[in-house]
């Protein structure tokens, strides 16, 4: 890792002002996943190949157009990391046999949703980390199977309504701790990011870019369509996710977890929940005080552990 590279993005004004990723894609207006991807792509650059799993982002490249300046390979829902393995190995073999020069090499980037990352693709991801694959994994986490109409996934938070948890209590399960699952593999890097905190995101992607081995990024991705809110609120909701402590910004490197942005004065969780239709049943027709307390307590507990 070169310190210069890592230290490049110090202030907001250091961030690129024009985007590399083309516009006019099929993503919904206000898509938080696309917001994060724009920011990430600016830093990764076009010397990259995106290996994609089935999900919303599959519709970025629709024949015969693509918003990517670099390369793209769509695989299937379960095996994008294995696709990355094939590409990475092939590029390494070509380099070793001197059939291509180093400047033909690319960053191999896996791009999947949470459904794939937390569930169907987890075995392939675990395998890739176990083999110390040199790749970047970007999971845009919209907390459900978005492309198929936001059914609950392993990333859906407790009590959220999805199209398969429409009952009065919402989703009965709890969001899986993918960050820890990934970190347990001791890869080169794991980080959480969010598009609404572009400086924190840029620093992390820059750091990830400069490392070798598995570099794993989870981007919480506010999703107006699945979370049921006005598309213009995406940035606000993203900021609230951080300020209320719902989405801890952190990184794992060299065996240690460091929180990169600790909300000292945490806003009440309610502020985050209230503005999303998927939590409306917690407030109407009457407030579900018990559930709201439970949810707040979980967040408080998390931060109590962090802050000691």
């Amino acid at each position: 890792m070169t310190e210069a590279a890592v230290g490049f993005y110090r202030r907001m004004k250091d961030l690129p002002s024009t985007h590399l990723l083309g516009t006019g894609t099929a993503m919904c207006a206000g898509c938080g996943g696309l917001e994060a991807l724009h920011e990430i792509y600016d830093i990764i650059g076009d010397k990259s190949i995106f290996v994609n799993a089935a999900g919303c982002m599959t519709l970025l490249s629709v024949y015969p157009f693509t918003p990517f300046r670099g390369s793209w390979l769509y695989t299937a829902m379960a095996s994008a990391p294995a696709g990355a393995q094939g590409v990475r190995d092939a590029l390494d073999i070509l380099k070793a046999k001197k059939q291509i020069t180093d400047d033909e090499d690319m960053q191999v980037v896996v791009l999947t949703g949470d459904g794939s990352a937390y569930g169907m693709g987890l075995s392939a991801t675990s395998g890739a980390m176990e083999r110390d694959l040199d790749f970047l994994y970007i999971c845009y986490d919209n907390e459900g199977y978005g492309n198929t109409g936001q059914q609950y996934s392993g990333a859906t938070p407790h009590a959220a309504k999805t199209s398969t948890s429409k009952g009065a209590r919402g989703f009965a399960g709890f969001k899986k701790d993918l960050f820890s699952i990934w970190a347990a593999h001791q890869p080169a890097y794991v980080a959480t990011v969010i598009g609404a905190e572009p400086l924190d995101l840029a620093k992390k992607i820059e750091k990830a870019r400069s490392l070798k081995g598995p570099r794993m990024i989870i981007a919480l991705s506010p999703c107006p369509t699945g979370w049921d809110y006005d598309p213009k609120e995406t940035v606000n909701i993203g900021k609230l996710a951080v300020k209320t402590g719902v989405w801890p910004l952190k990184e794992y490197i060299n065996g240690k977890v460091v929180h990169t942005k600790i909300p000292r004065q945490r806003q009440p969780l309610e502020d985050y929940l209230k503005c999303q239709g998927r939590y409306k049943h917690l407030f109407e027709p009457q407030r579900n005080e018990v559930m709201l307390n439970q949810l707040q307590q979980k967040i408080d507990q998390y931060w109590d552990n962090i802050n000691g």
């Binding site: 094939g86 190995d89 590029l91 390494d92 033909e104 392939a124």
Partner: protein, 425 residues
């Protein structure tokens, strides 16, 4: 050229080595595992300059194979049975990418019930996926056809992955004398890998396998793949001619054995054709004009070759080592479709299912089939599909079931007694 005793698995591994495969994504499964073990050992000992990576599943293995081929290197992989089915989604996917590579499938019956022994239900399940399929009946053929498969896959007229199929146990673990072709000659025959327009490079950004919207582009690409697959017959013939020039052995799309004057022709795939050939000889000794046809290529299906070869043949007995549940033998269905409406088509195309889960097909059974088919032709009667299964077998199975049942009953009774406080005597 050296002559060695090789198993079918070793022959497949040798072919991958002689074809100078760059990359081998792998996953163990019986009866295929010996292939990847051999390759891994050669790589570890520096006898082969390639990279072998064990993925965590066949689904991932085929994904990695396709992705590496799409990046522009020569790829080889091997699987069997449950593994082939586990990879099914990706078989269709990478064929759609038009990623050329070679996959060995060592045929083994499918679960349930779980078995290790051979039949063709695994490989026929993959018939529609876009991979071409070559079926082998000897260890030499495995080696030679695997080399040829690389040429076939990489040919500009095809650009599709190819499966080379060999039967578990009967070929995978059977040692036969095999001529090991000269390494330089093989290199010359297979040639340098030519990625053509399929590669990923920083200077040449490419999007592969992108989504389509609507049926029009979808139909376009699917049909293109179909047309490319159909080129497989003539390209195989070209490759076979070149192979013969290099190595002196010749392979036909459709192997014909004593069919010229045959009145009854057996049609069968894979290693059981050796049994069938034996039976043909015995039948001829007994005065019956029998013959044999064995398709080497199942995909593309050699319909024209069959039509030609079966002109003026009265009766055909198709022996399928598979069952399409609820329909019957797959080869029978396909052959019937290919012959339907042909003016000189056989009067009878009989369907037999046999050799399931590695069950033998005996010489007597070949005689029985020949007799049954001849009688039906004489009487101009149809013949219902039959499973090759003897009364003795059925009796033995029922006996086993009865024994197990009695034992269970005894165990149950003694438990009841213990519960009641009675001692077991």
């Amino acid at each position: 050229m050296t002559r060695m005793l090789l198993t079918g698995n070793a022959a497949a591994a040798w072919a991958a080595r002689l074809a100078v495969a760059d990359y081998i994504p792998a996953f163990p499964i019986t009866p295929q595992t010996e292939i990847i073990e051999s390759l891994a050992n050669w790589i570890d000992n520096g006898e082969m300059d390639a990279r072998l990576v064990t993925l965590e599943s066949e689904h991932s293995m085929i994904t990695a194979a396709g992705a590496a081929a799409a990046t522009g290197i020569r790829v080889y992989s091997a699987t069997s049975s449950q593994g082939l089915l586990y990879a099914m989604e990706m078989l269709y996917t990478v064929a759609g990418w038009r990623a050329p590579f070679v996959l060995t499938n060592v045929s083994r019956g499918l679960s349930s019930p779980i078995t290790l022994e051979s039949d063709h239900n695994d490989i026929v399940a993959a018939r529609d996926c876009g991979f071409l399929q070559i079926h082998c009946s000897s260890c030499q053929e495995v080696l030679d056809n695997t080399l040829m498969a690389f040429r076939l896959a990489e040919d500009a007229r095809i650009r599709l992955p190819v499966i080379v199929n060999l039967d578990g146990f009967y070929l995978s673990f059977t040692r036969e004398p095999v001529e090991l072709p000269d390494a330089d000659k093989c290199r010359q025959f297979v040639g340098q890998y030519d990625a053509q327009n399929m590669l990923f490079r920083a200077s040449r950004p490419t999007s592969q396998a992108v989504a389509v919207l609507g049926g029009s582009p979808y139909s376009y690409f699917r049909y293109e793949t179909h047309l490319a697959a159909q080129n497989g017959l003539s390209v195989y013939e070209d490759v076979a001619t070149d192979f013969e020039q290099h190595f002196g052995r010749h392979y036909d799309v459709l192997e014909a054995y004593k069919t010229e004057d045959a009145e009854i022709v057996f049609v069968i795939m894979g290693s059981y054709s050796s049994k069938a050939k034996d039976a043909v000889n015995s039948l001829r000794d007994a005065g019956q004009k029998a013959g044999l046809l064995r398709p080497r290529l199942l995909r593309p299906f050699p319909a024209k070759h069959f039509q030609q070869a079966l002109k003026d043949v009265k009766a055909v007995a198709v022996i399928d080592q598979n069952i399409s549940t609820g329909m019957g033998g797959v080869l029978h269905t396909e052959l019937s479709a290919a012959l339907y409406g042909q003016t000189q088509a056989p009067q009878l195309i009989a369907s037999y299912m046999g050799g399931l889960g590695g069950r033998d097909i005996s010489s007597e059974e070949f005689f029985e089939m020949a007799k049954e088919v001849s009688n039906a032709v004489k009487k101009n009667q149809p013949l219902a599909p039959r499973l090759l299964y003897t009364e003795t077998e059925l009796r033995e199975l029922r006996k086993l079931q009865a024994v197990a049942h009695v034992e269970r009953q005894q165990l149950h009774n003694s438990r009841q007694q213990t519960k009641k406080g009675g001692a077991i005597k």
